[in-house]
């Protein structure tokens, strides 16, 4: 169960690392090797994005990764198979990240049971507010797949409470307005936002959007439980190749 897994790890580590990759980019083989490298480098959680043709919440880097993956023929089936393979191979928790249409077309219940069977611990669906996805989210809960919900700096306290009622595992707090990949300034403002999040939920907090280096992560220690590195790892792979991913991750600790 995802929350327990996180709390356990938090006994040893002051802050956990979650990374994000797009399945099938640059290729399925590379995806596997990147995941392997990340796990070896001590990542605690991973978001595996099933590519979608219309990723409106993603910035240019992840957007293009989605397109490339699709262009090279990545299918939902193929992505789930790879997800299963890594989930069975490595002993960290893997989550699915994708847009609602992927699950909707696959069949909500079918998608949930697939995730459960493939030992995927949770799912992040950025374009699915609980108002639109209640049944789907509840089905995940039934099958022990944590529906990971999102808080934003513009989310009111009332709404944070409303959201956390549906959330399991942890809450994904986006650091700022905008899409993935842009810069974030790690400021007092961010700090007070995180304490608002704390008040609203008893679940662990992940902070994502714009984390690039050790300093960012140090800043988050004591304020968040999980630091999410998304776009930056993709940039590293693109610039320096799969081999250098491990080094990058280690540099963050």
């Amino acid at each position: 169960m995802l929350e327990a897994y996180i709390r356990n790890r938090l006994k040893e580590k002051e802050i956990l690392l979650m990374t994000h990759i797009v399945l099938g980019y640059p290729s399925f083989e590379d995806s596997f090797r990147i995941i392997e490298a990340m796990v070896e480098a001590g990542v605690d959680l991973m978001e595996l994005q099933i590519p979608f043709s219309e990723p409106i919440a993603d910035g240019p880097v992840i957007l293009r990764a989605n397109q490339r993956a699709l262009h090279q023929g990545a299918t939902v089936e193929g992505c789930l198979d790879l997800a299963q393979r890594v989930a069975e191979t490595f002993d960290i928790s893997f989550l699915v990240m994708t847009y609602y249409n992927i699950a909707f077309r696959y069949g909500e219940r079918r998608f949930v049971t697939a995730m459960a069977e493939k030992a995927l611990r949770g799912a992040i669906i950025p374009d699915l507010p609980p108002e639109e996805g209640q049944e789907f989210l509840e089905a995940m809960v039934e099958h022990d797949v944590a529906p990971v919900l999102i808080f934003s700096p513009l989310t009111s306290n009332e709404r944070m409470e409303y959201l956390s009622a549906f959330a399991r595992g942890f809450v994904y707090c986006v650091a700022r307005k905008g899409v993935t990949g842009a810069n974030t300034d790690f400021s007092r403002e961010l700090e007070s936002y995180l304490s608002r999040c704390r008040k609203a939920t008893s679940l662990p907090l992940a902070l994502g959007f714009g984390i690039k280096e050790k300093a960012d992560i140090d800043f988050l220690k004591g304020k968040a439980d999980i630091a999410v590195i998304g776009t930056q790892t993709i940039r590293i792979v693109e610039k320096e190749g799969v081999a250098s991913v491990g080094g990058f991750i280690r540099s963050l600790r």
Binding site: T75, D127, I150
Partner: protein
């Protein structure tokens, strides 16, 4: 708490958390405006002074005589400022932006019509303006890019995805999630998350309100059928909404492209290729593969070249209230030529879809029936597309000469 609105199984608001408060704000601003009796008045006032509403209905005497069936009337949205019904929607949203005290507008555009309309609205209201346009469209609709920039708008070519309308919409959303504080996204058609389908249809309903009144005044009876082309669905919703409670057949005409059988079309409701899905923030019938990835669409009319369609229209099809048909590129070009020569009217390629379908059906209607076709826009902005469609040699010669001048 998000406001959602469904039409049958379609609609909703599938938006990232970061936009929820923005949509809440927009919904309440729109609701207030709707309930303020002064607002619609203000809207009609600006449309009658800045554009030329009410736009007339024209009796197409020659077409009527030629087909020998029902009497054909044409609602002249082509006479609007900037040449299409798009002006209605942008001016309405412009008034709303003023109420929300925002200072910047963004918009997507495919054909470029909505982009030009938004740019004029922004100039008129003194808003900053950024237009997102697929790189493919930037090239094929360059004249509109020229005007948008002359009007003071920044035009950003979208180089990702299929680089057409849908990708421009995605890019506009990306801008919006960053700049919602001072920025309103002027969506150009009756699609997207609530309240856009309802809101855009509300502003476009001015077409149907006028048309119903005009036809009754002139003919003292209702038309038996109303024809409109359907891209996102805003001009169709606009004219149809005037007749929902009447015994009037409503016919939405989609882009049949190279023919439904070829798969190269943009028909989401008339063809069997459209399937229910969720993208760009709303649920409707999309042209997508079995995984849910959106397909490429094809039409001679850039404004109809879109994967999604208004959720309101999708549900009206299910209800059987609106019949959907598709006409092919070549049928559309024939209908356009014929209308030019017979009536001296110049429909946009989008609008010509409605003409083409009406021409197929009108001969079988009774002579004392009336049909109404919505001429959503004028074709003279499409000259490059149309000249290409007709492969006009003189035109090509002219362009070659021009190019040489520029090389010199």
């Amino acid at each position: 708490m998000i406001n959602r609105r469904y039409y049958g199984q379609f609609g909703g608001a599938y938006i990232p958390e970061i936009l929820v408060s923005t949509f809440d704000h927009l919904v309440s601003a729109f609701e207030e405006a709707k309930n303020d009796p002064g607002f619609w008045q203000e809207y009609e006032e600006i449309m009658s002074t800045y554009s030329c509403r009410p736009t007339p209905i024209t009796f197409a005497e020659n077409l009527t005589r030629h087909f020998g069936g029902a009497r054909i009337f044409i609602k002249r949205e082509d006479l609007n400022h900037t040449g299409a019904h798009k002006a209605n929607n942008v001016m309405g949203q412009g008034l709303l932006v003023k109420r929300m005290r925002k200072s910047r507008v963004i918009a997507e555009t495919g054909a470029g019509q909505h982009g030009v309309a938004t740019a004029t609205m922004a100039a008129r209201f003194g808003f900053k303006c950024t237009i997102y346009m697929g790189e493919v469209d930037v090239v094929r609709q360059s004249p509109n890019v020229f005007w948008m920039e002359r009007l003071g708008a920044e035009v950003i070519p979208v180089k990702d995805g299929t680089r057409i309308l849908k990708d421009a919409i995605n890019e506009a959303f990306r801008d919006w999630v960053t700049n919602m504080d001072d920025t309103h996204y002027v969506l150009g058609t009756a699609c997207g998350p609530h309240p856009f389908p309802e809101m855009v249809s509300y502003f476009q309903s001015i077409i149907g309100r006028e048309a119903r009144r005009q036809i009754l005044e002139r003919e003292s009876r209702l038309p038996s059928g109303v024809y409109a082309c359907v891209g996102g669905g805003s001009n169709a919703m606009g004219i149809f909404s005037g007749f929902f409670d009447d015994p009037v057949e409503l016919v939405g005409v989609e882009a049949g492209g190279e023919g439904l059988e070829t798969g190269r079309h943009a028909s989401r409701l008339a063809s069997s290729d459209g399937t229910v899905g969720v993208a760009q923030g709303y649920k409707t019938c999309f042209l997508q593969d079995s995984d849910g990835q959106m397909k490429e669409t094809h039409s001679v009319a850039a404004g109809l070249d879109y994967v999604g369609v208004s959720p309101i229209l999708a549900s009206l099809r299910d209800k059987g209230r609106v019949r959907f048909e598709a006409t092919t590129n070549s049928e559309v070009l024939d209908a356009m030529s014929f209308t030019l020569k017979k009536e001296g009217l110049i429909p946009a390629l989008e609008s010509a879809h409605a003409f083409a379908q009406a021409f197929k059906e009108v001969p079988d209607l009774k002579q004392d029936d009336i049909i109404l076709i919505n001429q959503s826009g004028r074709g003279d902005k499409d000259i490059f597309t149309i000249a290409d469609a007709f492969a006009d040699p003189k035109w090509q010669e002219f362009i070659r000469k021009k190019a040489e001048e520029y090389r010199a």
